[in-house]
Amino acid sequence: MIVMNQNSKPSPAEGGVLEAPKRTLFQENWNLFRKNRLAMAGLVIFVIFFIIAVGGFFLTYGRSPVFDPALVRLQEKLRPPLSKPNLETLKPEELPRLGIYLFGTDDLGRDIFSRMLQGAWVSLTVGFIAVGIAVVIGVFLGGIAGYYGSSQIPLGHLLACLLLGGGVIAIVAGRTAMGISLILFGGATAALLIRVGYAEGKRPIPKALSVLFFNLFSVDVLITGLIDIMLCFPVFFLILTVVALIPSKIHYIMIVIGLTSWMGSARFIRAEFLSLREQDFVTAAKALGVSDWRIIFRHMVPNAMSPVLVSATIGIASAILIEAGLSFLGFGDASYATWGNILSSGKDFLFDAPWLTFVPGFAVLIVVLAFNLFGEGLRDVLNPKLKERH
């Protein structure tokens, strides 16, 4: 009599074939991950933080939110945590919802608990959107560099792209006439290239135009060059410069952090693609006539994602730290309460109201620590070298 594993379905061929216990890759990784206690703690904190942040968004959103982070009570300045509100001087609608100031109040008498709730949401969105942007750019550029790396870029294509890009930049910078003429020139070049390119098989390229098809360098050189250029900038200083020069809106900050931190994932994806490109399943897909686009995004990217996933998790932690640092220096979006600007407003009352420093400081520390631990645990699990050992 064969004792069936509870997880496995009865096999279609009822002949008493002993099935191996069915465990998906996810279950296997999960079992491995559970053994790492620090990483598990990180995951639990991350889930709690996620719930608090989403809850915080709904509780502090709108005209008359449950917890109003912007409600000024000048008569209740710098009250310590857990202190009771002064019932005589407050209007009923100004009373804190919890009956006490759980985390105290700041120098304008705003409730720190409500501000922390809103700050949690801001930190969460900054982390996820900035890293999301970075991963999308990284996967796209890294994928192109890894897959099409060896193909050459003709002079004409580069010229057309430069003209079009320069035109867009000029329009953004306010020089509309110059921008439009650049775009027209670029468009004309592109049209010419397409026309000549289509006719290529039928008749030879005219002598005058052959210079446009002179191969400059490969795609790989272009993209790795771009990565090298981006790595030359001191990241925090660059972000600071850009954020100081553009209007300080939280969305811009997310975009800027994302645009300056994609290099890591681009490098990972490129390196993975260089080895995946030579593997049999890619050759098989090519032989079946699958389009390049589909090979890259359906077949290769899922196989190359694990190092990116790890660096993204840790990237969220550093994005939260960068945003807190920016708010601390006064470049944040003042229309939201963020953990950084609560801390920043607390620095003037360091010895009189230390809770203004400690509450947001520990919050940032715990959340960033959780992301780092979770990311490192993920790295261990996804590392095939380590898996063999268990």
């Binding site: 910078a173 060059g225 900038f233 520390l365």
Partner: protein, 318 residues
């Protein structure tokens, strides 16, 4: 070797050229202009604005401005828009102050990370290893400014000494007392600057050491009955140290990176603060010069580390 040097020199110059273009575009295409920094100031009449724009070539097209700016920078004639002092001289003055922070911070980082990392690797899985691992994560995750304030609160309430600035305000004595005062002020910011480095480097040392300890020649050394000290420090450590030689090149960019946040908390008149003030005042020459010099340092640093790699490890042929 020569071919490699020539090839990478050309590559780095091209990269530097594009970095200069991109940073110039970022600064100049952003909305607003330096001449509008203080629109309510009654001294800024239309006429003064025109003169300002003419003086600093702001009325010329962008590519001309670019050529003017980098010509001035490379010949050392570029001046700060705010106080008309030469940019390079200004940077050099601030650089001297940041240099001390950098030297002390680097010393702390390297002297602490190696023993910690090596011991953690030798006692792998033990209490020491686990606690230093956790401590390293803690140091990476703590926001620098929060850590700074915790240290300030601790030092000020326990030792009752001033910690802000480069020296105690109004100090007039010289000699030993002055030296100790400077050192004392230097200590906190350098510890803060070193904290992240210690965490990263000690983890790296640990991993490197673990990698080497699992090699066959270490097992052989153990099998032939060498004392554990000899195995760990003579056979394993020497090989584990290889990649760190190259890191001497990679710490070079830190010279100019001087942390903006730490320097502004401690009112330290260093590079980071100068860059921060330049950003606030839209002082383009200073911003661009800091950016340009740090890009040069990054490129030179990677170049040195590539060269050292080749020198140290003859198996590597670039």
């Amino acid at each position: 070797m020569l071919a490699f040097i020539g090839r990478s020199a050309i590559q780095k110059i091209v990269t530097l050229f594009f970095v200069s273009i991109i940073s110039f575009l970022i600064v100049h295409l952003a909305p607003g202009e330096p001449s509008q920094i203080d629109p309510l100031n009654p001294k800024f009449t239309q006429e003064v604005l025109e003169r300002f724009r003419k003086e600093f070539h702001l009325d010329k097209p962008l590519h001309i401005q670019y050529l003017y700016y980098y010509r001035d920078l490379l010949t050392g004639k570029s001046v700060s828009w705010k106080d008309n002092r030469p940019v390079l001289k200004k940077i050099y003055e601030r650089f001297k102050n940041s240099l001390w922070l950098f030297i002390l911070g680097t010393l702390i980082t390297w002297t602490l990370s190696f023993p910690v990392g090596i011991h953690a690797a030798i006692r792998r899985g033990g209490l020491y290893d686990r606690s230093t691992t956790f401590l390293a994560y803690l140091l990476i995750s703590i926001p620098g400014f929060f850590f700074a304030y915790m240290l300030i609160i601790f030092v000020v309430t326990h030792f009752h000494v001033p910690v802000i600035g480069m020296e105690t305000f109004g100090i007039s004595s010289t000699g030993w007392y002055w030296f100790m005062d400077r050192m004392w002020h230097l200590l906190l910011p350098s510890i803060l600057g070193a904290a992240g480095g210690i965490a990263v480097l000690s983890r790296y040392v640990r991993n490197q050491m673990l990698e080497v300890e699992s090699q066959d020649y270490v097992r052989t050394a153990k099998a032939k009955g060498l004392s554990p000290d000899k195995v760990h420090y003579k056979h394993a450590l020497r090989n584990a140290l290889l990649p760190f030689v190259t890191m001497f090149g990679l710490i070079l960019p830190g010279l100019i990176g001087g942390s903006v946040i730490i320097e502004s908390i401690f009112s330290w008149p260093g590079m980071g603060r100068m860059a921060y003030e330049a950003i606030l005042a839209r002082n383009y020459p200073v911003i661009l010069a800091v950016n340009f010099i740090s890009a040069i340092l990054v490129l030179v640093g990677t170049f040195i580390s590539d060269l050292l790699y080749m020198v140290v490890d003859p198996r590597i042929r670039l």
